[in-house]
Symmetry: C2
Subunit: 367 residues, 2 copies
């Protein structure tokens, strides 16, 4: 029997996944991880009031969620001091990245990103037939001048910058980011991924500017708000740029439980402050554990710590595997220049106790 | 300041929404609806065990959901007696329709559907640059022979059939659908939308055949399982056709609460049976209310009843507005040939009491 042809763009794509989930690794191992420190999740979780709002929303989940995400956009607009038409809600930043690429990066156009940056951006850019142009990191940070220069040279459709950065945890000042924004051509859409923005020191996020048509700021409830499993992110930008999402978004795609939880999360600043404090403590503890074992933790403005093994990529990969044998799930950067590092996400005190016990054994196993 | 150009495909699209949500209508009215009978939701809701599983999942929602949707695919595979690689999970049928169009309907290709069929299919087909070719309904049902003939004539990339149908509630027998499937060219992907399949009489759904590369069956937890707000649907098909979704899907897009709820819902057949019984009772009641008011209810294999007003489209639209004035939310078919009808979704007994009271007043207001 013959079969339908894939569309040419789809036919050119691999059957790929940007990340393997820890659940798949557990199935392969045949036993669960004891410490889940690889996905940059927030183990301190959502605010109790947000959890309660979500439980209430479950009881009402026979109804479709509001396709206009009105309440959440209003709540964000009030909190951020911007207009609600400068906001679009999506199924996580991942979903919004896909839509932004589809809208603004036609097949064959250049999408500029850092070599070793967020793989899901590359997945979507490739998926819509754009051409990825990569700029290496400099000193474990994204190269702002290099990215802007490449955007100019390539007349790029899109340039992507994560600030703070994943997977390195590094960050640039608001002033440096503002300079980068000014250096990018007006015809190039800037995707400024601020998924980790809440964890960053003051002075990291530029002031909101929703007048600039070529700038989208991407934020999420998955990280500091502890709602990764709910899939809710948002983009902020100039109203016409935002309105373009109405052309392509899956209007009923953001589930009702996430919408209710996100509204409640925004109204719980004291919980957010507590999460940030506990995250900072855990980050320090991870750095201390690394240092005590002869490894070099890099500075981090996120909820993870990237650690220089001082050896090569093969060693870092072996350390990842050895920690997996110890039932500890972490990840690592994969690109040349970064791949000698491992990346450990913030965990509960108990999870970090396990890490402290396991890391020396894992290192010994490699010796 | 100049602005980034939209990609050519996106530039050609309107800023549209397939459906206006009832929440938006409530905001315009300035007061809530008292009966929500327009979105084909299931007011009897998810199984208590599914609600409990979702509440538990909320507490764990700091974790990303399993991107492989392993547990849910396993549970579906067991229940349906098929292999788990014949199943892909998505953010509702809406999300899966978009991905299927993206995979199989390149720009300029023909997508065949019924004139007045599910608007979200058209939204996605237009969104990816395909050309919609419509076949009129015959006797308030989708025209199987007409759709197959058009698929052949156009060498269509995709043909869409909903069985049972929305918005008309009509259905074809499994034998007739099997004949339709055989009559469609092997190169044309058949999207067989069975969102309302559980409500249909025995003998409506053809036996599962996951050997046919050009057939995708689309199903959902939004309707009979009462989880519309959670966004979880699935597609069944031949393994290579299913695997193609790995090229384009948003791997982490199905939220963890939905996955947990769906697994639990499958394990609660007694609740599903109860929902089906209550739905049948409500459907009869809606038909009786229509008849008592001089309107003609059409037979339905779904959780809604489409009602022939016996007048024209303007009258049906006015009746919709008059019911809205009575705080009752319903919808109606919009296409020529169908647009003299209104569509009333199954509601709780209390909601249908309101309908029974309001409909005579609404009709009087139009007289």
């Amino acid at each position: 029997m013959s079969r339908p042809d894939l569309a040419p763009l789809a036919a050119a794509l691999p059957e790929s996944v940007p990340f393997t989930g820890p659940e798949a690794l557990e199935r392969r191992r045949g036993r669960p991880f004891l410490a889940r420190l690889g996905a940059n999740e927030n183990p301190f979780g959502a605010a109790p009031s947000a959890l309660a709002a979500m439980a209430d929303a479950v009881a009402e989940s026979w109804k479709y969620g509001d396709p206009e995400n009105y309440d959440l956009r209003q709540a964000l607009a009030r909190q951020l001091g911007i207009a609600s038409d400068a906001i679009v809600i999506g199924e996580g930043i991942d979903g919004l990245l896909g839509l932004a690429i589809r809208l603004y990066a036609p097949p064959g156009s250049a999408v500029v990103t850092s070599l070793g940056g967020y793989p899901t951006l590359n997945y979507h850019a490739t998926g819509f037939g754009a051409r990825i142009v990569s700029v290496p990191y400099r000193d474990h940070a994204e190269d702002l001048a290099g990215l802007a220069a490449m955007a100019r040279r390539e007349s790029a459709a899109v340039v992507y910058l994560a600030n703070p950065d994943n997977p390195m945890g590094s960050w640039h000042s608001a002033a440096a980011v503002a300079e980068f924004i000014d250096a990018v051509p007006e015809q190039t859409l800037i995707l400024l991924d601020e998924a980790y923005g809440e964890f960053a020191p003051p002075g990291t996020l530029p002031p909101l500017d929703t007048d600039r048509p070529n700038l989208l700021r991407l934020r999420t409830f998955s990280k500091a708000h502890g709602m990764a499993g709910l899939r809710c992110g948002y983009a902020l930008g100039e109203s016409q740029t935002i309105r373009a999402f109405e052309r392509v978004r899956n209007h009923f795609g953001v589930n009702a439980v996430a919408q209710a939880g996100a509204v409640a999360a925004l109204a719980a600043p004291e919980h957010l402050a507590d999460v940030l404090a506990r995250t900072a403590t855990a980050r320090t503890r991870i750095a201390d554990i690394a240092t005590a074992n002869g490894l070099v933790p890099l500075p981090s403005a996120t909820n993870f710590v990237t650690i220089d093994t001082g050896r090569d990529a093969a060693y870092a990969a072996a350390l990842l595997a050895a920690l997996s044998d110890e039932a500890i799930f972490i990840r690592k950067p994969m690109a040349p220049g970064l791949d000698h590092c491992i990346r450990i996400s913030v965990g509960s005190p108990a999870a970090l106790d396990l890490l402290a016990e396991a890391l020396p054994r894992a290192l010994s196993a490699l010796a």
